[in-house]
Structures are given as C-alpha cells and as structure tokens.
Amino acid sequence: MSTGNMNLTLKIWRQKNNKAKGSLVDYKISEVSPDMSFLEMFDVLNEDLVAKGEEPVVFDHDCREGICGACSMFINGRPHGPKEGITTCQLHMRSFKDGDTIVVEPWRAKAFPVIKDLMVDRTAFDRIIASGGFISVNTGNAQDANNLPIPKVQADSAFEAAACIGCGACVATCKNASAMLFVSAKISQLAQLPQGQPERYRRVQSMVAQMDAEGFGNCTNTGACEAECPKGISLENIARMNRDFYSAKFVSEESI
C-alpha cells in the first residue's frame, strides 16, 4: 500500500491490558514514504497486522493536526519523537532514515497507568482541572466583554500559557513524573487575567493538592518538560505557580 522506499525496524511496547506484563516487540515495515506522518506509518503497520490476523497496536490519536492532545508516543526516548515543538501526529517520516530502528513506548508515569499497548490513562489531568482550573462564572452572568480592558501583553502571555494541549509529554519526560508544567500553565493563564483574581489563591491550593493526590512527582528544575513541550509552554509558569502557592500559604491561606 505504501508508496515510499524506506525500510524500518520498529520496537513497539505491547501490553494486553493494565494487569498484563508488557514487552517490546519487533516489527519490520517497508516501503515507508517520507511524506507519511508517524501515525500513518502505524496505520500501515496495523493494516498489515489485521491482514495477518494479528491484533493491531492500540494508541491514542484523534485530530491528527497537533491540537487535541490525544497522541502520546514515546519515540526513541523522547515524547513525540525527535523534533521540537510538535506532537506525534505532526511528526513525518522524513525525520527518519532508511534502515533506522525506532523504539516506541507509552508515556510512563505512576499517575498515567497503561491501558493497552501505547494507550495510557490521563484522567488525572481532568481531575486536577475539576479541582480548580476554572473561573466560577455561571452562564448568563457576564458583563460586556469590552468593559474589561486587558493589556495586550498580559492577554498574550495568558494565551501562551493557555496553549497547553494536555497531552502529558511534560510528565512523560520528567524523571520525577511531575505534572507541574501542566498545572502551572492553567494556574498561570488565569492568574494573569483580571477575571481570575477572586479565586487566585484558592485555585492554586486546590490544584496543587489534587496534583499531589494523583501521585505526580515534584519539580527539581531539570527543565525537560519545557524542552519537550509541543506547545512551548514556559518554565516561568512553574515559577509563577510556586510564587502564588507560597503567597497563598503564608499570606492568605484559605481552607479548601
């Protein structure tokens, strides 16, 4: 089916379910086109497996344009593969050479248990957002949007933090499996906007508490999360979160 001329060896993590023991399994794939995306290469592999009566490799994916945050492969030791600033679905085979061996594993973190093969459970992120990653405003309570001017620089900075897609690459790459980049991005977005002020200190405490409860590790300032983040979320957000967290604890602790 494929139209290219690359031949590759894939070492893919196969694991029947959460309880089973997994292992890396070798697959040969040929005639890979450099114009294919990494996931399209997996489509071809899966078609072959189905044709042979074997079970296809299970992996998360949906929009295939780098915005939904579903895809999550750990490729040759790096989340989303060798290129910077993109997700797995945006990685194209032209980033590899004929004859390469590519190792593909799932995100590995205690708080992201493996569901099957390369698919993991990231619902911990939803629970963290549910603990405080919002502004409490019911529908119908809003004033005219332009009644609240926000300096462009501030709005742009909030937007940069809000660009997080919740893929979990930061957790996967961190030696401590820390979720601080993800959590701080949301805290930072809302802390920089006037709408986010009333709940600012309450929010940081609830979200950090939930993050800890989920079993994510702590930050030791390695910076791998920032380096591997497909959306370039900055470490500054973690600093901002820590500042707000300490302020909350020392100055204005609320019981949450």
Binding site: E65, I67, C68, K152, A155, F159
Partner: protein, 659 residues
C-alpha cells in the same frame, strides 16, 4: 407518526425569541434536582450545555468517546467566532449577521433560528471572556476582530489560529467545575450505541465502555445529542479520526428525521492530498484569506515555479470573478472556483490539483507599515519583507508551522498550495425551533443538527452556533418539555425498551466479530470515501448519483459479508469501534446521494451540474425546492421524504451575488 412542525413562535422576527424566553414554562429548583439529562458529546455544544444545565440544577450525565472532554473536535477549529458586537464601528448589527448568514446559506435556512443565533452571538463573547478565554486584543486592551468570508464587516473574534481550542477549553473548564461539584457525572471513553425510546419519548441511551467493552444502560428524562458532524463519510476530511455519525444515525433509526443530508461543506483552503497513505486532511484557516491572495498561472500546465511566474502572468481568479468580495467569497464559491481552474488545466503542484495562496503582497504591505512605525523611510523591499514576516508570524504562526510540518515547504518563502476538502456538514438531525428532534425528549445541538446554516455555512459560524445552542438556547427551551415531566419518576433500567436496545447493540457487535472475512474496516471506509467524493462531492449530477447509490449498496453487501475485525468485544478494541462507525457511514452515504438526487437545483454546497447559470454559479429553484428535506427512516435502509417549507418574510430572496 411525528409531524413536522417547526414550532416557530408567533410575532415579529425580532421579538420571537425574547417573547418565547419570557413565557417559557419553568422548572423550579427543587424539581430540577430530580430531573436527569443525558448529554452525548463534549464539544462546544455538549460541554456548554452540560455545564449550563448543571449550573441550573439539573442532574447531568455527559458522555464522550475521547479520553477527556477537552479533546472533542471543536478543539481544532482555527479561525474564529462571529458575533454582532459592532466593536469595529463598521455598521454591523444583529440584522446584518442574520442577513449574511441567510444569504451565505443560499436561502435554505430557517429565518427564526438564524435571527436567534445572531441575537445571542454577543452574549457568547461576553461569557467566554468572563471565563478567562484569552481572545486576541489590541494595544488599548480591547478585543480585536478580523474578516471572514461572505461578510463585509469585521465581526470575527479569535485567539491566534486556535480559537476553537480556547473556546472549548473555556467550556471544558465550566464543565469540569460542575464535575468537581458532583453535578455532572462524566463518562469518558464511552460511545453511545443506541437511543432508548419508552412510550414514544427518549428516555436513555446504551453506551459502550470502550475500556472494558461493557454495554451500559443510562436513563434520563431527556437526551441531548451533541455529537458533531458526519464529514468522515468521505474518509478524507478535516475532521478528527474519531468524528462519526453513529449517535445521530442511531437516533435517526429510532425515529428522528435527518435534515438535508446532502448539504456538505467543502472548504477551499486545505493542504492537498500527498499520497495513498493519507489518513486525514488539514485545514489552513479561512482567516488566511484575509492576507493571502489566491492565484493560478494564466498559462495551462505551466511548469515554472511560483516564484518564476511574473505578476502579469498570474490569474487572481477570485478577485477577477468577484471584485466586491475578492478572496473573501463564501467557502462554496471559493471551492468551486478552485475546482473549475484545476479541471480546466491550470492547477499547480505535482498532482495539478492545487492552487496558490500567496502572502507576498500583504507581507510587503505590512512591512511597509512596520517600517514607518520604526521611522524607516523609503525602506527597500528586503526590509519590508523581513518586517512584514514578523506581522504574518504573529497572526498565523501556528498555521504556517503546521503547513511546513506537513508539506516540508516553507510558506514564508513559497506560496502555500491548497485545494478544497470536506470540512463541515450543514445537514444533520432535523430539529424544531426548540432544538427537539421528531422524537419527543431527544434534542440535537451544534453540528449534529441541521438548523442554522442552510446550504452553506459561513466561516466562524460553527463555533457561534455550537455555543449558542449549548449556553443560551437549550437551557431555556428544554424547560418547556421538562416542565411536563415532573411526575415522571426515574426511568427503570430494566424496562423492556432498555433490554431490547442493549440486545440490539450487542447483536451488531457480535455480528462484526463473527463475519471473519478478509478486508479491514479501513478498506471499506476508503472505498466509501472514494465513491462519495466522486459521486456526491463538490459537483454532482443525476447519473453519478444513481451510480453512487448502486455502488454504495454493493459496498454494504460486501461489508457485511467480508469484514474482518480482530480481537473481542470485551476489551479495548479500536477496530470494533471503527466497524460500527463505518457501518453507519455506509447507510448515511446512500441517504446523502438520495437527497442530492432529489434536490434538482444547486444551492450553497450542493452543486448539481445540470443546474447552473451561464457563468457557472449555483442556480436555485425557489419555486420547487425552498424546503428542508427531512428524511424518515423506514427500515432496511429505506427512507421517506418529508418537507418543511421555508418562508422568507424578512429577507428578499435573491440570486446570491458576491460580484
């Protein structure tokens, strides 16, 4: 049998919604606590509806097939959201948004619905900003706007090229807030496989837990389908891989009429297909047409590179054909114009199925403005291009990056190559003014319904409609139904209707696994997509549609006798999930061709080659086809047509002109 009554309120167009809203029966807070609502889908429509209904006090259960509600496909919308705010002081108004939408839809939408949409559009922006959605701003701190196709005002609000993401994350955070408070129960990795109808009313769903394969029964006093559109019937589209028609189609088979299935939107600016391996197509936002000029060489089969073709040998065909709107004509018009040029032999790139989208002129123009801001007088071209590139980067950076990733070409240096691709479906479940389908208690919101865009949706209107339906329409209109349901006790899940629905869902899954044929699900999906694109795509004709129907019927037979689905039904099994979706797409595809065949006119995205003006524009037949085609399922993939006449009392129906 359900009758086709749109329940449009009496009175002046501008008063209908206000009056209805003020006289709508209410449900008191104590009663709301005992009423359960099921929401299927967690995109803009689903998340906003689930959050708002929970805020009001209802008990809500929300379902999505993704691992998190934040991944619903609304996330991928790029360009923006329309609202009649008139912040730019350029003459915008509720009426003008209403007018543009009706005209853009080629006079095939319901006036009252569209006017309501325009009325609530401004509230959406207010609500999103209050939630902390970081929409783009100007240096004065106020919100910025840009232009979109089919309008001559700037009413589009945006957040770089990630507007859908930011709006969805706003709705998602509102939803998760309710989840945290225990007012919404969220079911991720769950797919709805049946609607349960008890004594003529929608009372629940059968959902498959995709992790365990278990079929679950969920009951409620009303069911809201917010499950998106069906563009993936074409296999290749800009939709996410998982986007599907299954929830809507199962509802259709339980009595909900399907409205205007043939109205599909082919978006003019997508990255062209590169090979057989292609799994999806990527959109380059319409907002790019603000600053990109579309052209092809004046010479047929011109082998030269874009940069080698001098200005006077380029045909800016949209500016030539439509001087008033130029590159900002509506999508259907722009797509057909691109197809016309390529079919005539003027296409570019290896496949010759592409046209150029060129930013050079505007990059230079922006650079000149920047230079003057920096007090550089008489800047040379290189300086202008350098400064202008920064402006373009700020506006569209993520789109340019995406283009470079996919094609391996640098769009800052070379013009983009683009071609039309399936993007959105205006058709969907038929709903009345209250968003209720023909099954009492079953509602459809957002792209899943047919209601507001007629035969062609204008850019930046999908986000507006999804959020209007979820935040501002359904919370009111559902009260009219639920206020009569106060005496209804929780629906027992051992009711025969639940048993039967579950058995029927199980039988289909078992059937897929038992065929043990030779072809994969994708094989059938690709084949269906090819038939649909060729026979029911950008241009359609009687002969092709008849062939299409026969080919789809043949494909359906082959599917049910030669499908191979590995694995079992009691585990995570993506092939099994896909099988269910493709089975439904095959049936829908046939209905789309039937609908296109029935509509002997051209309108909006539905272009019948037999019906065009001398200049090649869509030729409507208002006398015979000013109606919504609402199809009823009659069993065994047969359908019966019902008509809802469209009355235009506030707009003069005219031949659409963008010249």
């Amino acid at each position: 049998m359900a009758e086709l009554n749109a329940h449009i309120p009496e009175g002046e167009l501008t008063d209908k919604w206000t009056k209805l809203r003020s006289s709508m029966p209410l449900v008191n807070p104590a009663n709301k606590r005992s009423i359960e609502i099921i929401v299927v889908g967690s995109g803009l429509a689903g998340a906003s509806a689930a959050a708002t209904l929970a805020e009001m006090g209802y008990k809500v259960k929300c379902f999505c097939f993704q691992d998190s509600p934040r991944r619903a496909h609304s996330i991928a919308a790029q360009g923006g959201i329309n609202a009649a705010k008139n912040y730019q002081n350029d003459g915008d108004s509720t009426y003008r948004l209403f007018y543009d939408t009706i005209k853009g839809g080629d006079y095939r939408a319901r006036e009252a619905n569209v006017h309501r949409l325009a009325e609530v559009s401004a509230n959406i922006i207010d609500q999103c900003v209050a939630q902390g959605v970081p929409l783009a701003r100007e240096y004065g701190g106020l919100l910025d706007n840009r232009s979109f196709g089919g309008t001559q005002v700037q009413r589009t609000f945006y957040a770089a090229g990630q507007t859908g993401q930011q709006l969805l994350l706003g709705a998602y955070s509102a939803l998760e807030r309710q989840v945290g408070m225990g007012k919404v129960e969220m079911f991720t990795r769950h797919e709805m496989l049946e609607v349960v109808v008890v004594e003529g009313k929608a009372r629940g769903i059968i959902a498959r837990n995709l992790l365990t394969g278990e079929l679950e029964r969920h009951s409620g006093h009303a069911v809201l389908l917010c499950s998106g559109g069906y563009g993936n019937v074409f296999y290749l589209s800009t939709n996410a891989m998982g986007s599907n028609v299954t929830a809507a189609w199962k509802a259709h088979k339980k009595g909900a009429f399907f409205g205007n299935p043939c109205y599909t939107q082919i978006h003019p600016t997508c990255i062209p297909v590169s090979g057989d391996h292609q799994s999806k197509l990527t959109l380059m936002s319409e907002s790019l047409r603000n600053d990109g000029r579309i052209w092809v060489p004046k010479k047929k089969d011109d082998p030269r590179k874009a940069s080698e073709i001098p200005e006077d040998e380029r045909d800016y065909y949209l500016e030539r054909r439509y001087p008033a709107f130029g590159n900002l004509v509506p999508r259907d018009v722009a797509s057909r114009a691109a197809k016309e040029r390529c079919d005539a032999g003027y296409g570019v790139g290896n496949s010759k199925l592409a046209v150029y989208l060129d930013f050079k002129a505007n990059t230079e123009r922006y650079g000149r403005i920047e230079a003057s801001k920096h007090n550089i007088h008489n800047p040379d071209k290189e300086t202008c291009m350098k400064l202008g590139r920064e402006v373009i980067k700020e506006k569209y950076g993520n789109l340019f990056d995406m283009y470079a990733q996919i094609t391996g070409e640098d769009p800052y240096e070379l013009p983009m190559r683009i071609y039309p691709a399936v993007h959105y479906t205006m058709g969907g479940l038929w709903v009345d003014y209250n968003l209720m389908t023909t099954v009492p208690g079953l509602y459809a919101l957002g792209e899943a319904n047919f209601s507001d865009h007629g035969a062609n949706r204008l850019g930046a209107s999908a986000l507006m409609q999804g959020l209007a339906d979820g935040y501002f329409v359904i919370p009111y209109t559902i009260g009219a139904y639920l206020s009569k349901e106060l005496a209804t006790k929780p629906i027992p899940q051992d009711h025969p209707a639940f048993v039967e629905a579950e058995a029927s869902a199980k039988a289909i899954l078992d059937k897929f696994l038992s065929i043990k044929g030779t072809k994969s699900v994708d094989y059938f999906h690709k084949k269906l997509g090819k038939i649909m694109w060729e026979k029911c795509g950008m241009a359609r004709n009687e002969k092709g549609l008849k062939e299409g129907i026969a080919e789809i019927q043949q494909l359906r037979k082959e599917f049910w006798s030669d499908l191979r689905v590995p694995g079992s039904a009691d585990e995570m099994n993506p092939e099994l999930e896909k099988a269910g979706r493709v089975a439904d797409f095959i049936e829908l595809g046939e209905l789309m061709c039937m609908d296109a065949l029935n509509r002997n006119e051209s309108c909006g995205g539905h272009f019948r080659e037999e019906y065009q003006t001398e200049e090649g524009e869509a030729l409507r037949d208002d006398e015979n086809y000013a109606y919504v085609a609402a199809w009823e399922y009659k069993g065994d993939v047969t359908f019966e047509l019902h008509k809802e006449e469209l009355k235009f009392e506030n707009i003069k129906v005219a031949q659409r002109s963008y010249k």
